[in-house]
Symmetry: C2
Subunit: 401 residues, 2 copies
């Protein structure tokens, strides 16, 4: 080590941090490639489909509700509160969710979180010890890897089939005595796949069977930021109805367009064996520094809960994009929700494909970054003309190969 | 293990979680004692000085600023943003902090966080490995213990003197090759002590000396939620000016009264050896699920930054409380900021004292909960009449002993 000032601070970063930070490189690499290109040629017309930053504006009722609650000038309305969130808001959500999820939920079985990510973390902290395993399904949201590794547990990846539905035999084979958590994400980022009721029930019955055989109770965490922006004629099976030890996580980042405001929740079904679980989450949040979800956003939830961004816009973009690609012979599973599409890479090496696509003016992310080589993800968070143009560029490039 | 439903979920909590959650019991125990008493006798007139929930309303400009930024109806203003926060807000803070902290700070050396707690966590994640040590000073904020343990590092406690100023010889003796972080909190919760410039410079010079001798660069993290609500004639020494590898953390929870809205920041001095550190924090936040500080609160910061709650109210309560206790022979170091006081316990056993004080109608927290037996903490977050009444009850109780 240096004994003068000839060192860089990064020499003192923790090993564990460097290990965690090294994951998720594909999205960043594409972003950097795009930046480099723009630096070299600021005039370039680059269509960036790499980042999943939803672009639809929140419904107008968001602004009016914030102003309405502020104009009440209620004393104490910006103070600390119960870590779990305002009880009135939890009661409201409990009532809505009891109805929509077909299980009993009360204010002691719903917990407001700093976005969905905050919800995942406070759950993982409760259930994961060093050396434990958490099962995820490829394609997966890349941050799941550092989320799980953060607790010194090991992510175990289960493969999906051609429709991006979990392969249940592979799932069964990957459960071990170390498995503590199964983390699913349906509708899925990156694929847009909505796991069928049969799949969810299959997962549940494998977990139930495992518990009967071994006494081990595995937690099923369902990360559902897209479940309220499904396309026409689609319905999301209720995870809470399907499996007793499941935990529903949602945010209002995509369905109400409040990604920057960091508001979400965890909910679970009323159950005498889970009594007091809300206190475990309070303690977990306390230890992780998640003191509570932003209070002003909590307060507007009952007013804005039934509002939505205009999902039809996402659906139109997705249809148009897939149609153009399809005409060029690029196959894509039809997404059921959201704004991501996950087409087959026209060449087997998805990283090479995305790299060379940059020179054609389109930024996408290779499927390898989601544990699913041979595909690429496009985030359709631009207006329909740009989406159409990007699809044409990809198609033309395919024809040139 | 059970193979039927005769189990409770808590049997499946992680060992690590149970270990973390067991810390910080004193505040909770007092709270439960109070709850029990109120259940047994709902008519009881209990003055709760146990929880540190600041009660002063935010200045009016908070509400008007939120409404003002909302009424601009700016497109994209609730979307995801740079994890580090909005660049304009970071530029604003950088300018303010360069002035107030007497070092150069730019938009790449300030990072907006989900409260101060979020700031502490993203720093600890960068610097702490399993088995590392982090030094804290008693009395300390109790959550520091699980915060540090969360990263499998070990909190090492340095004692303070009678004025609650760090004992520098003890500090020097507790630095080891495993020490990666020193975490200070001045003005202090629970004591209200403001570490002197000499103390800060003493800490800095010991750390510098250690680096010269060993090449080890120890990080000094300064958690300062109270530094902008100091009482008359007090000034907080600039940590960033005193030590090159220091990290300033503040929130707007106490000074602007926005505890429930979860907004704070980390700042550090411009320095070629720290180049790119903002990316480390982005990565750390990404891994911990702190996707960003609530955006609406970021947007109002430039408008509300110079506003304050009415600190004179806290100062008046503190003076009155200490005066009454003093007349009864209970000694208290005069706090320099905030709303906490930390008097000597009238009997050596501070836990026994606080327990029996409950029956006299006052809830306080024993100093043992802050690593400092023989004292008790009172949080003066009620109006002056209640504060006066509580001080009288404590004094009367003292006279009865």
């Amino acid at each position: 080590m240096n004994q003068n000032n000839n060192f860089y601070l990064q020499e003192f970063y923790a090993k564990k941090f460097n290990e965690l930070a090294s994951v998720g490189g594909d999205i960043r690499r594409m972003f950097m490639l795009g930046q480099k290109l723009l630096q070299e040629n600021p005039q370039i017309d680059l269509i960036d489909l790499s980042l999943g930053n939803p672009d639809l504006e929140p419904p107008e009722i968001v602004t009016s509700s914030i102003i309405k609650v502020l104009e009440k000038h209620e004393k104490g309305s910006h103070r600390y509160m119960d870590f779990a969130g305002l009880v009135d808001v939890r009661k409201f959500l409990a009532q809505e969710l009891s109805h929509s999820e077909h299980v009993n939920i009360n204010e002691e079985t719903v917990y407001l979180t700093v976005g969905a990510a905050g919800g995942i973390h406070i759950l993982l902290r409760v259930f994961l010890d060093q050396g434990d395993e958490a099962i995820i399904f490829a394609p997966y949201f890349p941050e799941y890897i550092p989320y799980i590794s953060n607790y010194n547990a090991k992510p175990v990846v289960v493969n999906c089939d051609e429709l991006h539905e979990p392969n249940l035999e592979d799932f069964r084979s990957k459960i071990s005595e170390k498995t503590k958590v199964v983390l699913i994400n349906s509708p899925n980022n990156p694929s847009g796949a909505l796991y069928s009721k049969e799949t969810i029930e299959g997962i549940a019955s494998i977990l139930e069977e495992h518990r009967r055989k071994t006494g081990q109770c595995i937690q099923l965490i369902s990360d559902e930021p897209y479940s309220r922006i499904v396309f026409r004629n689609k319905t999301v099976p209720s995870i809470l109805e399907s499996y007793r030890y499941s935990w529903l996580i949602r945010s209002f980042s995509k369905d109400i367009g409040l990604a920057g405001e960091r508001i979400g929740f965890v909910a679970w079904s009323e159950d005498k064996t889970k009594l007091g679980f809300i206190n475990a989450l309070r303690n977990s949040a306390r230890c992780l520094g998640f003191v509570g979800a932003p209070r002003l956003m909590q307060r507007i939830l009952p007013h804005v809960y039934h509002a939505r961004v205009d999902v039809g816009i996402y659906e139109e973009r997705v249809s148009k994009f897939i149609q153009i690609l399809s005409e060029a012979g690029i196959k894509t599973i039809q997404p059921a929700a959201g704004f991501f599409v996950f087409p087959k890479s026209p060449i087997p090496d998805d990283r090479a494909f995305c790299d060379s696509l940059v020179s054609k003016g389109v930024l996408c992310v290779p499927g390898s970054g989601f544990g699913c080589p041979g595909y690429f993800r496009a985030s359709l968070t631009q207006n329909i003309d740009r989406i159409e143009e990007s699809a044409k560029r990809i198609s033309n490039y395919k024809k040139d190969i």
